[in-house]
Symmetry: C2
């Protein structure tokens, strides 16, 4: 009975996989707004209503694509971090930055789905927050390791963060155990600076102004590394 049940469920799982594969391809080429269940069904030789047996709504299909994308970029950051010696904190930070940028350039529509304008009606379900924090966790570990190793210089010039922010810092310490409040504050600056840079490049804000994006990115991330305070 187990074999027979899995027979039906196996073809079902296979179909779900095929749907998400086609959808991912459509997302990569046409972007999220152009993703249509009817088009996916058409490509599968199905009638459009049959798709709803597997995904109750377009948003549900979008959700698995979002989760996949979060996992993909998270894994890219993890692998980049792993290529550096554990005590080369600047190198690990730069590797993580480049992993984010390169993944974003290779998957612009997926990146836009994760870090661009939120879809007005869409509400992210719980399943997304786990994969969403994979990259952040790597980033937090770099800073936590550096602080533990005593290789984070005292804040070079930032004023101490106001005490109110301690509560938020406490939440951030979940992925950055043991770091002080001022490091958390600078971590947010560097993290948002990284994504601000990538978003500006990808969303066209640099068009006609900045041409040497790779070099500018590299330089700016190096600068942010100094702001973070890694000591040589």
């Amino acid at each position: 009975m187990n074999a027979s049940r899995t027979a039906r469920e196996r073809v079902r799982a296979e179909l779900i996989r095929e749907i998400t594969d086609i959808a991912r391809r459509h997302l990569a080429t046409d972007g999220a707004p152009g993703l249509s269940l009817r088009a996916v069904a058409r490509e599968m030789g199905m009638v459009s209503s049959a798709i709803y047996r597997y995904f109750p709504s377009r948003d549900d299909l979008l959700t698995v694509l979002i989760v996949d994308a979060y996992n993909a970029i998270g894994e890219a950051v993890e692998r980049a971090d792993a290529t550096r010696p554990r005590d080369d904190f600047t190198g690990r930070w730069l590797a993580a930055c480049h992993a984010v940028r390169e993944w974003a350039l290779a998957h612009p529509h997926e990146y836009a789905l994760l870090y661009g304008s939120p879809v007005p009606g869409y509400r992210a379900p719980e399943d997304t927050i786990g994969p969403a924090s994979r990259g952040t966790i790597v980033y937090g570990r770099i800073l936590a390791d550096a602080q533990r190793a005593g290789r984070l210089a005292p804040p070079p010039m930032c004023p101490p963060p106001p005490p109110i922010l301690s509560q938020d810092a406490e939440a951030v310490r979940a992925v950055m155990p043991g770091v002080s409040d001022d490091v958390v504050a600078r971590a947010v600056i560097a993290w948002t600076g990284l994504f601000g840079m990538v978003s500006f490049e990808l969303f066209g804000q640099f068009n006609g102004v900045v041409e040497h994006r790779a070099e500018l990115f590299d330089h700016n991330m190096t600068c942010l590394a100094h702001l973070l305070g890694f000591s040589e």
Copy 2:
């Protein structure tokens, strides 16, 4: 003959104004993807096809909304900058930052239209680049004024930018006359950091993590002011 022609053109201009007003309201409440020409026409008591007499396509309507939004945020930054003494560079920078954030919080969908995911098929026409740079021009003037006044300290810790970036710096100097390459590089960091911060807040990346967003924003922008190098 001039009077009659203007009579006809006046009602035409009035209708165009009414269409854009309603469209702007729909954009503000429903977001860009929910903006529909048919809904606007319905609200005006027109039939949908009549709208196309005034806007040949949905993208054309979206373009004037984009231009309006760029002008609105640009003007907000200009006014904020004007409230501070000309030689209070840190104050001018912080005022500009808060103007951006507050405008974005008040007009989230417009902000997303400007700085969020680009619409896949949409190609921004020439008319948008002028209004798009209004805010950046203010920002550039603050830095140029500071450098001219000798109130920009030498780079505190960033390495000098690679020579390749000089070409891009030359382009940036169009809105930032007379500033050196390293200031341009740091300017880009601060500028992308500002928008990275606002985008993260607006697009939900801080959800469940950062609660005291105003305080964090203020602190981080102050930190970026130090990175820019304004001397007291």
